[in-house]
């Protein structure tokens, strides 16, 4: 049984710290999510546990973290459903050659650079229980992901959503996330299959069958929701309950199949109807609780697992700096080079690279899975979290430098962009 007093106290402190830190970051024109990610680090062993170990042990006793984690994972399941909901495969089909090239290069460039870096880091930060292939593929997946919601938020705030740069960035981020998650699913299956009795072929067949049922069966049934929304302008409570049940059932299926809960909820979101008003309606129903209550718990839990103290000594800080440099070179440099080769002017190409370099919450979710399945060590996890924070944090100041054009920087107080939800999440 959870100690309810401890759990509620934890939630209260986490929410308070996240709101304050998020608000502070907003003052510096950073997306709130960056501040909340930072708040998680502040509450963990990197700061609170270091400055006030007794209070930290009282507030976050080891035995209580399982409950906090369970709550935070529910939040991430809902969040991944919303991320999937925000991705519209039809929009991706109509993208230009430039978008196709940039999106693919923004995956391959960081992926290849990360695997080259893995050659150096594997003997230093991993151990023999993890194979090099899995280690390198994970590093690649973690470095090639883009924070789709954070990117959308930055574009909205700068009034760039409808610009060519904005539409290419959104399309590329969507492709990156789908690809990144597919690669991660593959790695998780490989690793789990090696330690479970079920053959990998049975697992793969199960996953393919599940995906086929979802895409060719459930997707058509879900159109009824869109029709009901068009007719009544809302979805009934029962309808919403069934939708939640479907998302949870899909998550459970993928967990049972040996991948992860999050893939199921992401897929469920991805196959939902994409009529903009309908998407906005669904997002509005889930957003408040997810953003203000559950995601801060995830940030705090991630922060509790991040121990900057493990990054000790010049060698460890060198590895950390190398990870940040390689991540930025691969994602920012790769996207920028591809955009420039596609004919985009230098400034726009650099802006696109900067936007693609934000990893934000998506990066943390992937890293969390990596630590859970023990493919990355605690020290490497901490370094990768620092990398995700730094690359996300640098996006806004870099954009200010690269795209100082007032027309692109207009910040309307309230912008309605119905075709890209998740603005508040970021």
């Amino acid at each position: 049984m959870p100690n309810l007093f401890t759990l509620v106290l934890q939630i209260t402190v986490i929410l308070a710290v996240c709101r304050v830190t998020g608000g502070l970051f907003r003052r510096f024109h950073q997306p709130r999510v960056v501040g909340e990610m930072f708040a998680g680090i502040l509450l963990g062993p990197s700061l609170l546990g270091w400055v006030a170990p007794h209070f930290s042990a009282y507030l976050f006793p080891a035995g209580s973290l399982g409950f906090l984690n369970a709550l935070s994972q529910v939040g991430v399941v809902v969040f991944m459903f919303l991320v999937g909901l925000g991705i519209n495969p039809k929009e991706l089909k109509h993208q230009s050659h430039a978008a196709v090239l940039v999106s693919h290069v923004s995956i391959t460039a960081p992926f290849v650079l990360a695997s080259v870096l893995a050659l150096y880091l594997y003997p230093r930060l991993s151990d023999e229980s993890v194979s090099f292939t899995n280690f390198a593929l994970f590093m690649g997946a973690a470095m090639s992901v883009t924070a789709f919601p954070v990117l959308a938020r930055i574009l909205v705030e700068r009034g760039m959503m409808k610009s060519k740069l904005g539409s290419v960035a959104i399309a590329c981020a969507a492709v990156d996330d789908v690809t990144g998650w597919c690669i991660l699913a593959y790695i998780v299956v490989l690793i789990r299959a090696a330690h479970h009795a079920t053959s990998i072929w049975v697992t793969l067949a199960g996953i393919l069958l599940f995906a086929a049922i979802m895409i060719y069966g459930v997707r058509f049934l879900l159109r009824g929701y869109e029709r009901a929304f068009r007719k009544h302008g809302e979805i009934s409570e029962n309808g919403m309950a069934i939708l939640i049940l479907l998302a949870m059932a899909s998550a459970l299926c993928t967990e049972r199949l040996g991948i992860h809960l999050l893939f199921g909820s992401f897929l469920m979101g991805a196959i939902m109807p994409k009529e903009p008003k309908f998407v906005r309606y669904i997002v509005d129903r889930f957003e408040t609780v997810t953003v203000t209550l559950l995601l801060p718990l995830f940030f705090a839990f991630t922060g509790l697992r991040t121990n900057i103290g493990l990054v000790k000594g010049p060698a460890m800080w060198f590895y950390c700096a190398l990870i940040i440099a390689v991540a930025a070179a691969g994602k920012l440099g790769g996207s920028m080079a591809a955009a420039r080769l596609s004919g985009m002017p230098w400034r726009e190409a650099a802006g696109l690279g900067t936007l693609m370099n934000t990893r934000g919450l998506m990066g943390l979710v992937i890293l969390d899975i990596g630590l859970d399945i023990r493919i990355i060590s605690p020290a490497l996890f901490s370094m990768m979290v620092v990398m995700a924070l730094v690359t996300t944090f640098m996006a806004v100041p870099l954009l200010d430098l690269i795209c100082p054009d007032q027309a692109l920087r207009t910040v309307p107080k309230r912008v309605s962009v119905p075709d890209v939800p998740l603005q508040e999440i970021a």
Partner: protein, 168 residues
């Protein structure tokens, strides 16, 4: 084929297909790399008799390690901790199969040796069971502390793929 299509195909081959081929090469060459042995997990310590040379310090050391000790590994470095006593943690390095760690405590009294640093040195034997450690636990700067020989057996392995919920 239009020139823009041709350019796209060349750019795609150069920026996407070529790097993917390079990736295959990197993955192949990486298979030859050797990572440090895995010591992550819970370890049960057993001390050899100190033949009457006990003191408050050595008694405290034995008491400390009598329970399960957790090792959290990050490549060639690791953190030792007592699951029942968060005040005591040790930081160490792994060189081949040799381990060396130094203990610090947020409360000097907790290690029973008036703040003297405890040092653990051990050899890892991977052939026996899940792995064993044989070594010495000592407090080099404490005059009343006799070094203690120990053996430790790995009680649980944190294998990849094993959920790690609740850790931190």
């Amino acid at each position: 084929m239009s020139s823009s299509n041709r350019n796209f195909i060349f750019a795609y081959a150069f920026l996407v297909i070529l790097p993917l081929a390079a990736l295959a090469g990197v993955l192949k060459s990486g298979r030859k790399l050797a990572a440090p042995p895995a010591i992550d997990g819970l370890w049960n310590f057993q001390f050899e008799s100190s033949h009457g040379a006990t003191s408050t310090c050595t008694d405290a050391l034995v008491t400390l390690f009598e329970k399960t000790v957790s090792i959290s590994q990050s490549g060639t470095t690791f953190v030792l901790s007592m699951p029942d006593d968060a005040r005591i943690t040790g930081v160490g390095t792994l060189s081949g199969t040799k381990l060396q760690a130094a203990f610090a405590s947020s409360e000097p009294a907790a290690v029973g040796c008036a703040g003297h640093q405890q040092v653990l040195t051990a050899d890892l034997d991977r052939k026996v069971g899940r792995g064993t450690l044989a070594g010495i636990l000592s407090a080099p700067n404490c005059p009343s502390c006799a070094p203690l020989a120990f053996r430790a057996e790995r009680a649980s392995i944190s294998a990849p793929g094993t959920p790690n919920k609740g850790d931190h």
